[in-house]
């Protein structure tokens, strides 16, 4: 049923691991889904990333739990427009996406003055992540 406000619970969000996230998104894309965005929240030891899809105004969500410091594949190969929001999550939460086409290297929104990743409870130092790239 088309709903504008969806309370997420175990029923309507599918769990998924970061390995097969690309195949799941490919299946959803063939099913005609439009990627809305990725939302993420900090659970203390791991980052919980939610992939929101929309098929003719019906919401479909996939939840991936990424432990801090681990890499997760970027879905920009399936949905090209995902690079912007993945860059943002990389800056705010310090999650590394591998295979990111246009990498802002943590400079999308924030400058050097902001050292810690702002949205994690215990901020990971951002300066090292840039050093590896630079």
């Amino acid at each position: 049923m088309k709903q504008s406000v969806v309370v997420l619970d175990a029923a309507n969000t599918k769990e998924c691991t970061s390995e097969n996230i690309i195949s799941v998104t490919k299946k959803l894309k063939d099913g005609g889904n439009r990627l809305i965005t990725l939302s993420s929240a900090d659970l203390g030891d791991s980052i919980d990333i939610l992939y929101h899809f929309d098929l003719d105004l019906d919401l479909a969500d996939i939840r991936v739990n990424v432990p801090k410091g681990k890499k997760t594949p970027s879905i920009a190969s399936v949905y090209p427009c995902a690079f912007l929001v993945e860059n943002e999550i990389k800056e705010h939460f310090g999650v590394d996406f591998d295979g990111l086409p246009l990498d802002f290297a943590g400079m999308l929104y924030l400058d050097e003055e902001v050292q810690k990743t702002p949205f994690c409870k215990i901020g990971i130092n951002r300066v090292e992540t840039q050093k590896q790239e630079a």
Binding site: Y109, L110, D111, E113, V114, P118
Partner: protein
């Protein structure tokens, strides 16, 4: 002749508006001043987009880490005599977002500000009042420039003294 030039400074203030981190509520009110209902062109005010031509700098929005450098750069590009008007709660003191992590606070933390217009999305009349106050300051600064005292030189001399 000097008096005539200083008098004409107040009669034809050219305005440059820079939005550093504003929710664009104040920006549309600044643009609303140009439209038929409030029409600031009757005071000779034109919105020039070029810092080289501008006299008054209208700053809206909380200055954040990235655009404080741009704001300083624009302020330095403007020829003397120049005045700055900080618009809205964000422009004057950071407003509702004072405690956010990327916010530096009002415009006066980066450049000297001459007039503060309060209000969250101040009405166009309030912005016109703020510009009028700034015009008074512009006339004083104009007199100083006529005697050859340039703010820019004073700053560099102060820096040399500090070192």
């Amino acid at each position: 002749m000097k008096g005539l030039i200083n008098w004409s400074r107040v009669k034809s203030p050219w305005l440059l508006h820079f939005d550093c981190g504003s929710c664009n509520g104040c920006d549309i009110e600044v643009l609303a001043c140009l439209t038929p209902l409030y029409d600031v062109e009757r005071f000779g005010i034109i919105n020039v987009g070029n810092p080289k031509h501008a006299d008054i700098l209208l700053v809206t929005g909380t200055v954040n880490h990235r655009n404080k450098v741009v704001l300083k750069n624009i302020y330095d590009q403007m020829p003397e005599p120049k005045v700055v008007v900080a618009i809205g709660a964000c422009g004057t003191s950071g407003g509702v977002f004072r405690d956010a992590y990327n916010v530096v606070g009002g415009a006066d933390k980066v450049i000297p500000v001459d007039a503060y217009v309060s209000g969250c999305a101040p009405k166009p009349e309030a912005i016109i009042d703020g510009v009028v106050i700034a015009l008074g300051k512009l006339a004083e600064k104009g007199k100083k420039v006529d005697q050859g005292i340039f703010e820019r030189l004073e700053q560099t001399q102060k820096e040399i003294k500090d070192r």
